[in-house]
Amino acid sequence: MTLDAKVPSGQIQDKWDKARFDLKLVNPANKRKFKIIVVGSGLAGGSAAATLGELGYHVQCFCYQDSPRRAHSIAAQGGINAAKNYQNDGDSVWRLFYDTVKGGDFRSREANVYRLAQVSVNIIDQCVAQGVPFAREYGGLLDNRSFGGAQVSRTFYARGQTGQQLQLGAYQALARQIDAGQVEMFPRTEMLDLVVEDGRARGIVTRDMVTGEIASYSADAVVLATGGYSNVFFLSTNAKGCNATAIWRAHRRGAYFANPCYTQIHPTCIPQHGDYQSKLTLMSESLRNDGRIWVPRSVSEERAANDIPEAERDYYLERRYPAFGNLVPRDIASRAAKAVCDEGRGVGHGGRGVYLDFADAIGRLGKGAIEAKYGNLFEMYERITGEDPYTVPMRIYPAPHYTMGGLWVDYNLMSTIEGLYVIGEANFSDHGANRLGASALMQGLADGYFVLPYTIGDYLSKHMGEGPLPTGHAAFQAVETEVADRVQSLLSADGSRTVDSFHRELGALCWDACGMSRTAEGLAAAIDQIRELKGRYLKEVKVLGGNEQVNQSLEKAGRVLDYFELAELMCRDALMREESCGTHFREEYQTPEGEARRDDEKFTFVGAWEYGGPDTEPNLHRESLEFQNVPPSQRSYK
């Protein structure tokens, strides 16, 4: 199969207009005849389900949480970008587009990114109209701030809880459609497989997380909005329940998986403090606007942070990147932190931390001003660490946070399976090899509110009058049987180790071999180790309890089984990509200064993997990328 991204012809500014004109429409009276399944209720899924409901489609929305309000988009702190140029500081759609392509290290699809920048302005309008309480100036207008990797103030925010407020906005729009009968909501229901017949997505098979019932749902189209796969690392900033099962099962059914090795490691997280640690907590990178990052100059430093004199501190980001200083993009900030810790200059538990110091900002602006901006973050930090960041510098360390890779989609957000759409973090589309701060919320809502609702009609219009496959069809029955067998095999494993113990082991493996820096040798070894670990998993794991009950061990066990396979593909992709770009840093490919060295000649493409089978290697397909509007250059933040 050749990958056709279906990017419209014409100037980049006109492509989305052209697409919207060329895409076929479904007339209002016919929309109610179509049923659409949306899996996931975060920013992408919630906004898509609500908008499709408003348009008149019959929507079924599924989430694993007890309420659609709780999806992990809710935890995003810093903000959402939009090219409004309200601050009159030189922003424009073109600049947001340019920044995002450059920030992605020239590994994203230009046309998608331009569309994202275009609709970013509509998102803010929509969210304000919904009542999202964004921060305001005294004149009543919207406030903005600058955010990691940008030189303009284009980030809209609601205290440190922007994700929460946008998520609640989408949830409320969804609740309105549930009340109107347009959307049927299925909380505590986990998608365990996709049903494909005749090359088209026909529905899903789910497990009811209270009763254990395995059931089929059929529809005219299926939308996956199930987020990223950072939890493959076990320790990440994702919610504990975030998982890759939906996209991985779709991959096994024929959806290509693109750029799995592009995983973002966020620079400002609270460092690990013990072996029992269950997750890592992100501190908004807006903190980098006022905090200064440093480590001691000396490897043998033993004094407390405040006792180390100025001359013996190394503000390494300001030193290495004078133009951007502490505001360099995430991948660069993360690698720099790792580098100083590898030198032995790290601070705190295990020497895996750097200081983020607010003393200067408090001196300059006063404690009150810092409290007003970051009060809730400081409180959260103190709650977790027991230290007061107003008087003692924070300690931070990078942690897995976001995955740019995901299922391959064309310009219309359709995967390589007809009728299967993938939106938000679950797809690979807009961020290339590195995502800029405050762009995840933007992409989730762009896909859900403003892109998918247009593009899905084009597919549906071609299947007018056909109707969904009955769930009694053999295709559904076969998948249901497979799912039930899989559940049974997990429950009957006769081992003695817990699911988490395996997940931790897998996570540590991935972090070492496929985390912030990667080598051919390490990756090749990791692939073998992952296979070996997976082989032991089904023999040695122990899952107590039955299927017909709330069984959290069983839920986890299935997810971890999928992580093994995904982890292997992630390493394979990292091994294939013999260059460094964005977050993907291969030690063999760096400049003399230790920066990422891309190989545009050989690797200006999207690596989209086709599932080969349980014991067969996956097949690589390449979508070559063209940069006609932002000529590739070496990223420089010096």
Binding site: Q126, A129, Y276, Q277, T498
Partner: protein, 247 residues
């Protein structure tokens, strides 16, 4: 730290439940409360006993999934702190800790510490939104919102929907949760057209599921986000006005 945990175990909604006592020998003060339960669950699984089911997700105090009664207090002893953000440094070596699911007839137990909070969604569905279809919004800066109103609306909007307010209330009342959403939207200019209809429908839905408020103020005391009961007063005023205006 050595702890003695008394945990409510219940197979499912129909079965009866009971407290079971567990000894945990190796908790550490840096652990979060949920990590302490993780450690217990690992040990239980290894011993062949079913682990304790408890709801959790983000573990950052924002998704609102977690919540349990810890020594009789929703989310435990620290003010303004969800269970996942509670750390063991606030307990002593040798402590006995009693852990129960949310207490409320409106939140039936599904298993162990996991309850069904669906009525909270029903309340939002009955009007906790502004009716604006995607695409029909005007430019964001055409709507002026005075900063104090935006800030106050945000104070209310911070509710995470965990249900601690209901669980702690002797009456099992849902006033704090409901009033937070009514106030968030009612304080903003965008929320005015539906203000009367919203408060009326949401209050009536609330009363279908939850008990009545008699100003115990326990909800405010345990709210992990510090939502003020002033919003309840505001909701009551709005409700009366809506009735008078004949919505």
């Amino acid at each position: 730290m050595r702890l003695k945990l008394q945990i409510w175990r219940q197979e499912n909604g129909e079965a009866g439940g009971q407290f079971v006592t567990y000894e945990l020998a190796d908790a550490s003060p840096e652990m979060s409360f949920l990590e302490m339960l993780d450690v217990l669950n690992e040990q239980l699984t290894e011993r062949g006993e079913e682990p304790v089911a408890f709801e959790h997700d983000c573990r950052e105090g924002i998704c609102g999934s977690c919540g349990m009664m810890i020594n009789g207090q929703a989310h435990g002893p620290m003010a303004g702190t969800a269970t996942c953000q509670l750390h063991m440094r606030h307990f002593q070596d040798g402590d006995e800790i009693r852990i129960e699911p949310w207490r409320s007839a409106a939140f039936p137990v599904l298993k162990d510490l996991v309850v069904d909070r669906a009525p909270l969604d029903r309340i939002i569905e009955s009007g906790g939104y502004i009716s604006v279809n995607t695409g029909s919004a005007r430019d964001a800066n055409e709507i002026l919102v005075p900063k104090p109103a935006a800030d106050r609306a945000m104070d209310a909007a911070e509710c995470i929907g965990c249900g601690a307010c209901v669980a702690q209330c002797p009456n099992g009342a849902g006033q704090l949760f409901t009033s937070a959403k009514i106030s968030h939207l009612g304080l903003l200019p965008q929320g005015q057209p539906e203000r009367d209809r919203r408060v009326k429908r949401m209050v009536e839905t609330m009363e279908d599921y939850f008990g009545s408020c008699s100003n115990y103020r326990e909800c405010e005391a345990v709210c992990p986000k510090g939502i003020s009961i002033d919003f309840i007063a505001r909701m009551n005023r709005d409700y009366v006005k809506a009735l008078i205006r004949g919505e």
